[in-house]
Symmetry: C2
Subunit: 405 residues, 2 copies
């Protein structure tokens, strides 16, 4: 199941970024499971990584390499997360980087590794290394769609976005891919995103964009509240376009940020739409908060409530569950008589109880839709936050209670 | 579904506490849905209430009455939670108290109201008031089992516990009942507990016991992480036994606390065992924490993880999910190489990865059991905490996605 059509866009090649795909047979013979990004010299990369303390070996190594040198290669495998693998995992991730570096004529610290798949199994290094010649030989700038499929684990469909626009008289291209469908599907470590542009972006501006945009998109979605050990989202700027360098005080930064943000959001939303067992795409908008943290606390408490999520699955306008979730979100001095809760354009809660003009019919009409917005106005400040989530269905339990096979 | 036998015990009457039951036909004609506790003069009552900001009208009123006078009556109805009902809800709760007070010859502030059932519907005051003569006429000291059934909503079975023991040469009796099976089942507001003893307990000692024991039992269980708007747990001391008053510095306080704690825990565990769709009873024990809050954060993160809960349902020793949940529990400086995770007597995680001596067979043998302990030793301090939860099954989704009927 998944929400919406979810077809891949036409991908625009990004100058300076070439993609190679190969089959290492990590879980299934013949499956394309290794993807290589080859970046032109002068490219810059910034990223945002999981906050899980049990972060996977490739996450630790990518952070380290990123701090040492400008990357020339990203090496991604699916089928094995190389997480929960202790010291051996670190050695395995490094061995893959070294093999690619040697074949490509760069140093190992110019390679960033990413893994996704089963937690706790040793990485099949030899299989991955054997696939590297094919991956390198196949690099081309028009293989985005294949790469989107090549990083999937239990996703039901590939996820990508692409844009081309004018920035101060120069054409900028952005293409990106993502994967993820829940933290784990029998033991899968999940979310990855790779967004590349040919704009030339100063390092500090690039890191700021990567952090801000990742925060506002991938860090605002939740399927089941479980943070993966392998989450990573990388922003690549090849600098191959004809325009000037974009710095933090560049007048063109806002327009670039907006264009990138759209791609980030589309890729993040695509993960929710393909959430495990998802039948609804749900936007939770909290406004009128006194602080960002309380806005997020309310939004995530609603987004993670199993009772709200099962009501969404049932298309049941069960407003009491939303009210109860808001009430337990940890705001000590919340005035329940001041807040309002809307489902789509229908007011559910006002003056501490069900809105006088609410009717079950009107609530039902909104709930019957596939895309639903829950808007909560706390009426105690001017801070807003939005998170995106999906419902909680029988298929979620089926998918996650299936024995690992 | 429910875990374990769950038969009611033989209840020992508690001198000074009489129970009356009647039918108000709130949801179904003929269903016994009103329970009255009649307390002898001189009884003391202390309680612990929901922290949900959208707390129900009866919770607000019970708190207020408790602060004003020593209660003589507890009035409980099932079938309607009188929550999310705004100002009207307060008036309705008060009207019920006033009617009972008038018939019983006490003042309204000597009556504590409790409601459980559907959120957001107006309380059928007239029906409840009409049932009060029957409830009052039927009071007797041997109706605990009927009262346990009379406060049920969607519980699959009544819950009670009873004990009689020697305290410094005097016989003390404790009897208690509880209800709850999830926060809500189509819109139900849930957890109630009533524990009575004939011991004479000083007011400050009673409140300390009510807070401490509630915290260690009812506040350590979670079915789905949703805190109800109506949760309340009351401790009643009729003072009718022959012994002396128990004060905070009484040498007998520890023994009394232990006896009460066993009843509290049994009643709280009974709620988990009857959790919506539950097939497993799970103890999560976190030790070696540097602070109570981090122990609780880790325990609840594991207890609420949908991925851990679905793995428990599947009897799948999916240790990667437990590891990932611990890793995202918010301990910034957690040393993942120092901690250990056990499933029953089997070590799952050691040195940052799967324990060397772990085998799938041994993990499976533990997972196949109906009662499972997950023990997490953080190895960074000497604080421990325990919470109890159940698994997450297809039946949970079925129960909560059913349209309200």
């Amino acid at each position: 199941m998944a929400v919406g059509p979810g077809t891949l866009p036409e991908f625009f090649p990004v100058a300076g970024v070439r993609l190679g795909i190969a089959s290492a047979g990590i879980k299934k013979p013949g499956r394309k499971d290794v993807v290589v990004f080859e970046l032109a010299p002068g490219s810059r990369v910034a990223g945002l990584f999981t906050t899980n303390q049990f972060c996977a070996a490739p996450v630790t190594l990518s952070r380290r390499h990123l701090a040492e040198k400008a990357p020339r290669y990203l090496l991604i495998n699916t089928g094995n997360a190389n997480a929960g693998t202790g010291e051996r995992g670190m050695n395995d991730a490094l061995a893959c980087c070294e093999a690619l570096a040697q074949q490509a004529g760069v140093s190992a610290s110019e390679v960033l590794p990413f893994s996704t798949g089963v937690i706790g199994e040793p990485l099949p290094v030899q299989k991955i290394v054997s696939a590297l010649p094919d991956a390198l030989a196949s690099t081309a700038d028009n293989r985005w769609a294949e790469a989107a499929s090549g990083i999937m684990t239990t996703d039901t469909r590939p996820k990508g976005e692409s844009a081309k626009f004018d920035l101060g008289g120069y054409t900028v291209t952005i293409s990106g891919i993502s994967k993820g469908a829940g933290m784990i599907r029998p033991n899968m470590a999940t979310m990855l995103g790779f967004i590349a542009t040919d704009a030339r972006i100063a390092s500090d501006a690039l890191q700021t964009l990567a952090s801000e945009l990742g925060e506002q998109s991938f860090n605002r979605i939740t399927i089941d509240g479980d943070t993966s050990t392998n989450d990573a989202c990388m922003l690549i700027a090849s600098g191959q376009y004809d325009g000037p360098e974009i710095t933090l005080d560049s007048p063109h930064l806002p327009a670039l940020r907006d264009a990138l943000k759209k791609v980030y959001l589309d890729l993040a939303h695509a993960i929710v739409r393909d959430g495990e067992g998802a039948t609804k795409f749900v936007t939770i908008h909290v406004s009128g908060a006194a602080a960002q943290q309380e806005a997020l606390d309310v939004a995530y408490t609603v987004a993670h409530s199993p009772l709200v999520k099962t009501a969404l699955f049932a298309s049941d306008p069960n407003w009491g569950r939303i009210l109860a979730a808001v009430g337990r979100a940890g705001i000590a001095d919340l005035d329940v008589n001041a807040l309002e809760i809307h489902l789509g354009d229908v007011c559910l809660v006002r003056n501490g109880g069900r809105a006088e003009d609410y009717s079950e019919e009107r609530g039902q009409a909104v709930m019957d839709q596939e895309e639903i917005t829950i808007a909560i106005d706390l009426n105690r400040g001017d801070i807003s936050e939005t998170v995106w989530t999906c419902d909680f269905s029988h298929d979620y339990v089926t998918i996650n209670a299936d024995y690992r096979s």
